[in-house]
Assembly symmetry: C2
Homo-oligomer: 123 residues x 2
């Protein structure tokens, strides 16, 4: 599997789901998954989805600036590092963000998100 294609497809899927149907992100996480969102920690698909769906804005749009990826070691994982802009509906200025994902292979030949760290850069 081409890591560049996987990481780009993941990024496209993740943010389009985030912007149109945030609850649908839950299937990308498992019980061992971790999210650190602006320093707050959440573990497990349910807690992570709970956080993402309760963010204090209804509509948003992610615009991706850069996507970097690297294999993460002996168990076939992949690190994906994203930077971009987050436009909240009704806000004049977009917020810069960076986010990293650690994707791990599933027995079905797909990937799930083991690690997810998100930070706004307040630009």
């Amino acid at each position: 599997m081409d890591p560049e294609a996987v990481s780009k497809a993941f990024v496209e899927h993740y943010y389009s789901t985030f912007d149109t149907n945030r609850g649908g992100l839950g299937s990308l996480y498992q019980e061992s998954s971790m999210l650190t969102f602006e320093g707050q920690k959440f573990q497990g698909s349910q807690n992570i989805t709970g956080k993402l769906t309760s963010l204090p804005f209804q509509q948003c749009q992610h615009h991706i600036s850069t996507v970097d990826f690297q294999p993460s070691g002996p168990v076939g994982g992949m690190l994906v590092f994203v930077s971009g802009n987050l436009q909240l509906s009704g806000e004049q200025h977009a917020l810069k963000f960076s986010q990293m994902f650690h994707l791990m292979p599933t027995p079905q030949g797909s990937f799930y998100v083991l690690n997810d760290i998100f930070r706004l850069n307040y630009a």
Copy 2:
């Protein structure tokens, strides 16, 4: 070992070495290590150190804003996600950056950097 203490000690060591003796960073990387610096890829301690020591500025100072960390899975690694400002000597404005490290344990009970991804955010 306390992951928070490890990640904070690593971050302090990494950036103080970067700002005072960039060539000294080589010992933190191994042959399998990868650096993606503003989209450019380097593999192995020697190539990575070569890139870091040939950056087009002599003096710089990193000011760290946030440090997040998570365990990275079954082999005892740790993900460290950093945001901050990079002040180049002679420049009026600092540059925002974000950077992620994947630290892996060594047989000696220390850590080395397997993955390193760096991006400027042009704020």
